[in-house]
Amino acid sequence: MATVAPPARTPLSRVSRDIIGALWEPDWRYRTMILVLLAILGWAGFAWVYQIKTGMGTAGITHPVMWGVYITNFVFWVGIAHSGTLISAILYLLRSGWRTTINRAAEAMTIFAVMTAGLFPLIHLGRVWYFYFLAPYPNQRLLWPNFRSPLIWDFFAISTYFTISLLFWYSGLIPDLATIRDRMKRLSGRMARFKERVYGALALGWHGSDSQWKNYRRAYLYMAAIATPLVLSVHSVVSWDFAMAITPGWHSTIFAPYFVAGAIFSGIAMVITLSVPFRWALGLEDYITEYHYDNMGKLLLLTSLIVGYAYTAEYFMAWFSGDQVEWESFVWRATGDYAGPFIVMVTCNVLIPLLCFARKIRRNIRAMFVISIFVNIGMWYERFVIIVSSLAHEYIPGAWGLYTPSWVELSITVGSFAWFLLWFMLFAKALPAISITEVKESITEGVWSPGDKKEGA
């Protein structure tokens, strides 16, 4: 849309042009991709309907492994949701300027990942039409959820997280939405009027006055401060879904911080995985550069080391405490029927990310892309190993058993990726995927300008 993108006369107008110019005009590749994703989603939808109609027996879960791939996916997607708030809130408070161009996309990812994760408890539910039993309200059934159950803590933790993430993302968008509205004013045509009205309504009457900026900044800072503890709390509560049970392999005091680190680890990996094709497809290579991958690589390395520390500490403590059950179940995890997933987990999460110690690799976008895919795989397997291998091998040998996912579960798993990507692709064409405001601020402050591969002096 050439009219939307007038020739840029200054570096600042170039920023608006580049970012707004990436919107709306989908080419054939984009349309094809959307169709493919819809097809996969349709198939997954069919699988779910089949499961609802036929019964939970169509899923592979059975005694003793009653939590299988669905809960794995749930934890995996909640984990993916973590980097968004980390990048947008914590790095904001820490004045890490490099977050500027990736925070918008990471926050969007957070929201879509929570939307994906939220589906899985429902899919896992036997009679999904009774899911509203989860909501605590006075009712004629005289039924209340069990507040002492970590599952109900989780319900609250995740709804809070979703709400705050959405508000935080939206408040960051407001000045940019107003920029788009103003740009539409200069254009003619019914479509431009329509967009002006929609973006104008979403911009909530923003006109960039001093008092608006002042209040906006305050609000953004407070939101960041409020969102920060949530990054820790949400995945801690998810980890307590497991750690509160006395199942060996689940019941561990390190679970909360370890899950949080793992979540940030997988989330950063997903940001890298998505941002590489994304910057290329939208022509935003100047905006997400080696500089950003270098820093994300460091974060990936840090969280990988924490996860590796936790793996090691679990084994060491099981041995050191002289507790037979604990030790046997950890030995079985590494050498028993699920040794394969265990090896994948250790290789992808601990060994491969060690490459990020090398600055050359961190600054090599292709290498980071490949590493991030390994991490995504490894983190999915980590959730699988923790959930399945612990349940399969509890205290009583008579109750041991194995689990293999069924086609229904696998279809829905693949479908969840399609659902997530679909939202992400719609976002990339409907909203400015990089914060126009923050990039301009970064240029004015002399911290970093588009195209720079290093931090400015």
Binding site: S252, P257, M317, E445
Partner: protein, 430 residues
């Protein structure tokens, strides 16, 4: 988003900083520190005769507290280097000074061998509380002290290497003001000196490599310290998180120690070079780690309380019941509850005197916390807080103080050359 920027830094002229290097310890300070060290040593010997276990467990508590503080103090510079925390560049040497205690700490660890019989309950009968045998490969006194001596040497050497390269670029400038052994030390540290710029560049390069190594060594070796010197006192206790909780605690105590020392030096050595926003940043870091420490404490407590398994509750239960309950509440209040309520206010974070008071409270809390993690495991008869504990602590404080005073009276406490992290403080939310 620019709110208020970090543009304001007090101008620090090299000659002013050098003028603040006293080159000697004032007589009164030396007398006070020396006296407490002497009383401590004497009291410890008397304690060993009167009540050997109490003396040795007080010794262990103080060893853990002060060694953690010293190692984490050096880690501060490494952490700033790794995270590019420009604001902490000019503060890192104040924290780094705690590292001067490390050689003494090493000797003290070796001396602990003499008291091993009073401390480790598994020596005669290495089984856990259920009677299952503990892994003999780990639970033997010789092995414990051998690996301790080895790993502490690694950590302390890394700390000293870090301190050396942080100080080296400033050595010739500092040498002019010193005499005697200080002069010889500083001359040795500045031997084969190129120019300031080449030395600073070299230091930055070396410190850039050392920082991640030091951080990794700190995490691994302090975890080992927590396992061998704290957890093994309750054989069979299972809590995977405890070592991490332990080393984060030491890190927080070093942050508090930095705030306290920075405020004291500002007052007594006119070392007034930190801008209000730097105090604010330090305050925010202390605040953040108070919360994080409490988070770790709670993450450990909740699964244990909920699961109610004997192999886990055996550590927590003693501390939750009388006579230890009161102490547990006090240390939690000193490290988290009160600092949390106080540090919420911007004023408290930004005013050195207020921040230092809160930091003092945190340090006091951590001493109690270390006491509370060690002693209830091996002492069954009430809370042993009496003259022995007081005197031993006084002795450690004296020795630690002498080490710090020697450091602070020899080296410039604000870097003259950019020996770590280049660049300027980042702009951002204030």
């Amino acid at each position: 988003m620019v709110e208020t920027t970090h543009s304001y830094e007090s101008p620090a002229e090299p000659h002013e900083i050098l003028a603040r290097v006293p080159g000697r310890i004032s007589g009164r300070l030396l007398a006070a520190l020396g006296a407490s060290a002497g009383i401590g040593a004497l009291g410890f010997v008397l304690g060993v005769i009167a009540a050997p276990q109490r003396a040795w467990q007080a010794y262990l508590v103080n060893f853990l507290f002060f060694s953690g503080l010293a190692a984490a103090g050096v880690l501060f510079g490494a952490a700033m280097q790794l995270a590019k925390g420009h604001w902490g560049k000019s503060m890192h040497r104040i924290a780094q000074g705690f590292g001067a205690f490390l050689p003494i700490s090493y000797v003290l660890f070796l001396l602990l061998y003499l008291g091993h019989g009073q401390i480790f309950p598994w020596i005669d009968n290495p089984v856990n509380f259920e009677g299952h045998p503990l892994p003999a490969a780990w639970f033997n006194v010789g092995g414990l002290f051998a690996r301790g001596a080895l790993f502490l040497a690694v950590l302390y050497v890394l700390c000293f290497a870090f301190m050396y390269y942080s100080l080296r670029p400033d050595m010739p400038a500092a040498a002019k003001r010193l005499s005697g052994w200080r002069r010889r030390l500083v001359d040795w540290m500045g031997r084969d000196y190129g120019s300031v710029d080449t030395e600073a560049a070299r230091s930055r390069r070396v410190l850039g490599r050392l920082a991640p190594l030091l951080a990794l060594a700190y995490v691994v070796i302090l975890s080992g310290m927590a396992v061998d010197l704290v957890m093994s006192l309750t054989p069979g206790w299972l809590s995977v998180l405890f070592p991490a909780y332990f080393f984060i605690g030491s890190w927080l105590s070093a942050l508090a120690g930095l705030a306290l020392m920075a405020a004291l030096l500002r007052k007594h050595m006119q070392l007034d070079y930190f801008a209000p926003n730097q105090w604010h940043d330090l305050g925010k870091l202390v605040f953040a780690f108070c919360i994080f420490w409490a988070y770790l404490w709670f993450s450990q407590f909740l699964p244990i309380w909920y699961g109610n398994l004997p192999r886990e509750t055996l550590f927590i239960e003693t501390r939750m019941r009388a006579p230890w309950q009161g102490l547990s509440i006090v240390f939690f209040a000193c490290i988290f509850l009160l600092p949390f309520l106080l540090l919420i206010w911007q004023k408290v974070k930004m005013a050195p005197a207020y921040l230092a008071s809160v930091a003092g409270l945190i340090l006091f809390g951590f001493w109690l916390e270390r006491f509370n993690t060690v002693v209830p495991s091996i002492w069954a008869d009430g809370v042993p807080l009496g003259w022995i504990e007081l005197v031993v602590t006084l002795g450690f404080l004296g020795v630690f103080g002498v080490c710090y005073a020697l450091y602070a009276s020899t080296f410039p406490l604000i870097p003259l050359a950019d020996s770590i992290i280049v660049g300027s403080p980042r702009k951002g939310p204030y």
